[in-house]
């Protein structure tokens, strides 16, 4: 389904993503971990085409999405939803309008400029908000909501796109532990119920272990680990983060739970 081959991104003299290759054969929930500056965000941004790759290819169902331009590129972006650390909603517009922005690529520019969305789209937007448990805020301005609620609006916008893939760039990095769990549970549920592929950059190991079917570890732009969460031992984690023996997962854990708790993901291996 997804084939990444020799993907490289250079910013001047810096190599953000260095010759990355991997294959995903079915829609799974994929976690990417690594310290800041490891190239996780750059990879997601290249996949959504917010950033252009330097070399390499990224094929989705056989089509190299890095070669798309103009309308074809925007068409791909509409099938590849992105969730950002800072939510990236339009703060002065109401929640439903923000969710309806997910359909911008399918609707005529003129109609959307006057906020003329079809009635069935509006109903669908409200249903999605209901599914994510924030329908009571539908008419409020996005800026009036808390961080966790805004991130769920962003997920609703992504679902409104009816995408093949959902990319989540540090979706819980600016949320408190409780909201982080709500948002991650929502992403997992979308994957389980709709069968959509989810690729999430995560900054905490326990989140990756608990929610993902497969984990890719990046360090200095290179893929240094690719395996199941079970294979992600503390020793491997030290390698990914370039840490020494003093490194302890619990020190950075943000979850409210017993660390022996079972993962929420399905028991089938990736």
């Amino acid at each position: 389904m997804l084939v990444v081959e020799n993907l490289t991104k250079r910013f001047g003299g810096n190599v953000a993503v260095d010759n990355a290759s991997f294959t995903v054969d079915r829609p799974i929930m994929l976690g990417i971990i690594g310290r800041s500056g490891a190239g996780k965000s750059t990879f997601l941004r290249m996949m959504n085409r917010l950033t252009d790759a330097t070399t390499g290819s990224l094929k989705v169902e056989g089509q190299d999405v890095l070669r798309l331009t103009g309308a074809a590129r925007r068409e791909w972006q509409s099938q590849c939803a992105m969730i950002f650390q800072q939510f990236n909603l339009v703060p002065r517009m109401d929640v439903v309008s923000n969710v309806l922005h997910g359909t911008l690529n399918r609707r005529s520019t003129l109609a959307t400029m006057f906020n003329l969305f079809p009635r069935e789209d509006i109903h669908r937007a409200i249903d999605i908000l209901d599914r994510l448990g924030i329908v009571q805020h539908a008419a409020k301005r996005a800026e009036a909501l808390s961080g966790g609620q805004q991130q769920r609006v962003a997920i609703a916008r992504a679902l409104m796109q009816d995408p093949k893939v959902i990319l989540a760039d540090e979706p819980i990095a600016s949320l408190d532990p409780m909201n982080a769990q709500i948002v991650m549970d929502a992403l997992r549920r979308i994957h389980d119920e709709d069968g959509r592929m989810v690729i999430a950059n995560l900054h905490t190991l326990d989140t990756a272990r608990r929610y993902c079917d497969r984990v890719i570890g990046m360090r200095d732009g290179r893929i240094v680990f690719d395996g199941t969460p079970e294979q992600l031992t503390t020793g491997v984690a030290r390698d990914i983060y370039g840490a020494d023996e003093t490194f302890s997962e619990e020190a950075t854990s943000t979850e409210i739970r017993d660390h022996r708790a079972a993962p929420v993901r399905a028991a089938t291996p990736a």
Binding site: N48, L50, R73, R74, E75, W76, Q77, S78, A81, M82, F84, Q86, F87, N88, L89, V90, P91, R92, M93, H101, G102, L104, N105, T109, T112, M113, A154, R157, Q161
Partner: protein, 286 residues
């Protein structure tokens, strides 16, 4: 230790030396300024047809005439006010239409000229220069050309003011755009929105209070501009004022009525726009 006297060794002497140097520079600047003023004035005075000093005592003759004329015909003033009110409306109409058209064009030009938002980033300097040119040409020059081509009337005045307004507002709008948060724009890019959709739904909601505030300020300026353009044949209250003034004594009461109308209009719109702008900024700043 250091070549110059160290400030710590003699703080009094060091500071006094600094003050003296500042005073010297200040005095020199003032002397140059006074010299240039005097020489420029002498030159202008010698070239003037009438001469400044001989004309100076007559400077209050015109207001005195207007007042004297009006005082004797005070009972006619309300009638004049009513008679010239439609001309005032025409002037305000010219200003409103040109502000609207100018602001709409300025919106498009400013978005095309802002780094990070522009549709064609390489063409940013082109659109900036276009706005510079539009801003640099005074309204009256464009109006004179257009009146020559299209004939007198409100339409050439409207086009002339709209042209200048586009350049002036475009520059201000573009500065507002620079401060816009790019996160919503990036969010809309990620769903595959077109450039127009990104600008209209991602940028305009953020900047519209500031846009509106600048446009109101420009509307005030444009009322004055459209009154002035009446003098060169663009219709409206300026045209009536020119006639009333140039026909000499006997019609100065009408000129007084027009002055009162203009003054009241400016005051009303000034108060109105500062009130609305105050509310917008107050609301937007939470």
């Amino acid at each position: 230790m250091a070549l110059s006297p160290s400030p710590t060794s003699d703080p009094h002497g060091h500071y006094l030396a600094l003050v003296q140097r500042k005073r010297l520079y200040g005095g020199l600047t003032l002397a140059i300024f006074v010299l240039m003023m005097v020489s420029g004035f002498m030159l202008a005075d010698s070239r003037n047809a009438g001469g400044f000093w001989s004309g100076l005592p007559q400077i209050f003759d015109f207001p005195a005439d207007v007042l004297a004329d009006t005082a004797t015909k005070l009972h006619l003033l309300p009638e004049h006010l009513v008679r010239y009110f439609p001309a005032l409306l025409e002037t305000i109409n010219i200003a409103a239409a040109s502000t609207l058209i100018g602001a709409a064009l300025a919106l498009i030009l400013s978005l095309l000229a802002t780094r990070g938002l522009a549709l064609w980033p390489r063409a940013i300097p082109v659109f900036r220069r276009i706005m510079d040119i539009m801003r640099a040409v005074p309204e009256i020059v464009i109006a004179l050309v257009l009146i020559f081509v299209l004939g007198g009337g409100p339409v050439p005045a409207m086009i002339a003011i709209a042209f200048h307004t586009t350049g002036a507002l475009g520059k201000l709008f573009s500065e507002v755009n620079e401060n816009a948060d790019l996160k919503p724009v990036e969010g809309l890019t990620s769903v595959g929105a077109s450039w127009l959709q990104r600008m209209w739904l991602g940028v305009v909601p953020q900047v519209s209070p500031n846009y509106f505030s600048y446009a109101l300020l420009r509307f005030e300026i444009n009322i004055r501009a459209s009154a002035i353009l009446g003098f060169v044949g663009a219709g409206g209250i300026g045209y009536e004022l020119k006639n009333a003034m140039s026909w000499g004594k006997g019609r100065f009461d009408e000129a007084a009525a027009i002055f009162i109308l203009l003054f009241l209009t400016i005051v009303v719109f000034d108060q109105l726009s500062s009130h609305v702008r105050g509310r917008l900024i107050h609301k937007g700043g939470h």
